[in-house]
């Protein structure tokens, strides 16, 4: 068995285990920490797929910044301890049903995948990940120029929105 496959299996098991931990944990802070672990596993998946930039962004932005925000929000609401028992009794069976459907879909797709080789060719393997990073950067700043600039407008709008919704106007106490 080659090294990549072994690494993949270890990571896959960890990723599923932490995702389950996130769902089952009754303490919101633990759930958030499980999510950090999950994000880290996903970041290594990206590396395995030859996408170092996404892996880096996953670690700095998601596992780093966004999780800090999550923890702030959890503490902001004082919601560390989730209440016992189901708030929405219908939700659990419904979620299990949806999960079964999704799993069935995945199985169908996998079976079809092994029947025909036409579908979903693996992307060309990149020997040197620096090359893949360079290639991606070149595309991002030439072909994908428009989406790149629109992203900055999105960030601006998010900034304005956050300030409008949290900042109190001078003289008014809300």
């Amino acid at each position: 068995m080659d090294l990549t496959l072994i690494l993949f299996i270890i990571l896959a098991v960890t990723a599923i285990a932490t995702a389950l931990g996130l769902l089952i944990s009754r303490n919101a802070v633990y759930a958030a920490l499980f999510l950090v672990m999950n994000f880290a596993c996903v970041a290594i998946f990206y590396l395995l797929l030859g996408a170092p930039f996404i892996a880096m962004a996953q670690v700095t932005v998601y596992a780093g910044a966004i999780m800090v925000l999550f923890l702030f929000v959890i503490m902001l609401l004082g919601a560390e301890k989730l209440p016992k028992g189901d708030v929405l009794p219908v939700q659990r069976p419904l979620a299990i049903g949806a999960a079964v459907i999704l799993l069935a879909e995945a199985v169908i797709l996998l079976v079809q995948r092994f029947q025909s080789t036409a579908m979903l060719q693996a992307p060309g393997t990149v020997e040197n990940s620096m090359d893949s990073l360079r290639e991606m950067s070149g595309l991002l700043f030439t072909e994908y120029l428009l989406p790149f600039e629109v992203t900055s407008i999105l960030l601006l709008v998010a900034m304005v929105g956050a300030i409008v919704l949290t900042k109190q106007e001078k003289g008014t106490r809300g």
């Binding site: 797709l109 025909s116 036409a118 979903l120 629109v150 992203t151 407008i153 709008v157 304005v160 919704l165």
Partner: protein
Amino acid sequence: MTQSDLITILPLLALVVWACALLLVDLFIPKGRKGWTALLAAAGLALTMGLTLAQAGREASGFGGMLRLDGFSTFLNVLFLGSGLLGVAVAYGYLKRMDLERGEFYSLLLFSITGMMLMAQAADLIVIFLALELLSIPLYVLAAFARPRADSEEAGLKYFLLGAFSTGFVVYGITLVFGATGTTSLAKIVEVLAAGSLGTGSLLLTIGAALILVGFSFKVAAVPFHMWTPDVYQGAPTPVTAFMSVGAKAAGFAALMRIFVMAFPSLSADLTPVLWALAALTMFIGNIIAISQTNIKRMLAYSSIAHAGYILMALVAYGNPAVAADSVASALFYLVAYAVTSFGAWSVVMSLEKPDAKGLEINDFAGLGRRNPLLAAAMTIFMLSFTGMPPTLGLVGKFFLFRTAIEGGFIGLAIIGVLTSLISAYYYLRVVVTMYMREGEPQAEGEYWLTFTTVVTALATVVLQFLPAALFALAAGAVLK
């Protein structure tokens, strides 16, 4: 940047720069004089409208085919900018009256319109996703603009959560389509489909397209993805609701038409039954639940759900080449009719609204016919137009829609459309009856720009129906090729 890049993006660029500048200029406009911000926002919209109209009839493609300028985008951009102008007009007095006067309102409105215009011009799934976000995020904030009023905060949060959820569907759909075809460009997807070498990938493509349809069904509020609509429409400040019910819906349909008519016509065999059911359900549920509403904002919310169903009816026929062009044209025509009528109806609601969400029951309209004949007459026109009765634009719009459905061979759907229109007459006319037949002393606001909007939209609803051929020709000229 080539010249054609610049031509394609010019109106968008103008509006974005204006919105950024407005955000900064507003910092130096003292509180209580935000009329200047409103005026500047309107000027920016008017300028962009001028640029858009100056480019009318032009076709260009920029940024490697990611952005398109064509009749379709011009038509919709004018609609978005027009609704933006009306939005500024009705918001100015309202914000002042409700003590919500903050300059960010107008900048956010401008950013949202930028997103809508980007949506109308997008020819790449990535740009469509970004446009969806750019138009939605300001709307989430605007829905919660009346904070700390609890219902407004609830509206913002609800809209945000369900909007993010629906965006998830869109993104997942886009990845599946990308996985199946290897490209996000709509034009290249068409090429790949035409080559017909997808194999089992076509299943993936169908699932992807279906997920995109689900995502945008949330945005246009089609049943069964409509649950957020009444609460959000009720809780959001009314000018935001008016703008949202027109702009966000039109942008959602713009994306659906771009994607499904341009890229996926070959999927119609798989998706037509789904669209059929979606349209039928939306018309039925929207109209039936609207009957039991006593709050005018909730009633209009369900009415807007029902109207999404009528527009979806046009899209059901898109796979039939004989009526494909007509289906887009009639959907565009109906969007205009709906936009004008809807803005008018919301402006009347705003005239009667009192602080703390008072004056919003249908019973509060009692006696309006005697107290304020002009407003009551305008509301009557809007209600008739929503129902699809003469002498209004709504009738012409519904006529074109039903004609397309029948010519496309979907007679059952057309019958459902007619039947549900009859049902809708009950609750629309109840408002009219309340205004004229019942006693009451409603106090209407006489703000200049609000009254102006009511009068303009009422006149447009009546006058435009006399030139349906010209307007339909405009819409037909905007059909995607």
